[in-house]
């Protein structure tokens, strides 16, 4: 276990207007690690993908709760955990394949591919009928004069 230096947890209903709120909040929290603009962009993008997945796929019929847990871990690591109690993913391996989507034509099927290329690690745990937890981690570059 890597020691946790700081953390914040946010709960919100699975409304699409919360996508911008979630990614902006994650970027604000990550600002404590003095990230570069590119790193901030990477975090915003990956969080947007994970939260959009929860909003679009986890609760197809009605609204549910999405939990966003943000953590700063020792070693300049930023961790984002997006959790839902929705329908779950029957086949996680398949869901992670590029271009695979169960969504409509407004979805590209590139969400996991983008999370994987913008973060250092992407872990997905899902149980059908119970929900899905996606944990993203990225080690940010330590900069001279940077604060923690």
């Amino acid at each position: 276990m890597i020691p946790i230096l700081n953390q914040a947890t946010l709960l919100f209903p699975s409304k699409s207007c919360n996508e911008a709120f979630a990614r902006t909040t994650a970027a604000c929290f990550a600002a404590q690690l003095d990230p570069t603009l590119e790193e901030l962009g990477d975090i915003k993008t990956a969080v947007s993908e994970a939260v959009t997945n929860a909003i679009v796929h986890a609760y197809p019929q009605d609204l549910g709760v999405v939990t966003l847990r943000l953590r700063i871990l020792e070693g300049h690591i930023f961790e984002v955990c997006v959790k839902d109690k929705g329908v779950g993913i029957p086949d996680v391996e398949r869901a992670r394949q590029p271009l695979y989507t169960t969504g409509d034509d407004s979805r590209s099927g590139m969400g996991f591919t983008i999370m994987e290329s913008f973060m250092d690690s992407v872990r997905v745990r899902s149980l059908p009928g119970k929900g899905t937890t996606v944990t993203l981690r990225k080690r940010l570059s330590p900069r001279l004069g940077g604060s923690r």
Binding site: E19, T45, T52, D105, S108, S117
Partner: protein
């Protein structure tokens, strides 16, 4: 989110702006669909100079416009793409399909 456009003979330019995510993507998609169907352009340029954020929802928007133009024999390119959106564009491999001008 409003999409500005300019037409010069057979060439149509869309100016996208702001944050392109799942929340706003459908509106942009419908505007592009409608204008491409109504004007039947030979060349579509998507100017992304004013886009402050884009995730994979933007990929879906651009791919759909590209597919529409493939059907009618039109061409498409993207220009003025900011660094964050460009990174998404490249990570999705879209630069292999839709030409990107710097």
């Amino acid at each position: 989110m409003p999409v500005r456009l300019a037409q010069d003979k057979n060439a149509l330019t869309f100016y996208l702006q702001g944050e392109i995510d799942h929340h706003g993507a459908r509106g942009i998609m419908l505007t592009l669909d409608r204008e491409v169907a109504a004007r039947d352009p030979g060349m579509v340029t998507v100017d992304m100079g004013e886009v402050s954020f884009m995730d994979s929802s933007g990929i879906a928007v651009l791919l759909r416009c590209w597919r529409r133009l493939e059907e009618t024999g039109g061409k498409m390119r993207v220009r003025n793409i900011p660094p964050q959106a460009k990174k998404v564009f490249v990570a999705a491999g879209l630069h292999k399909i839709i030409p990107m001008d710097d």
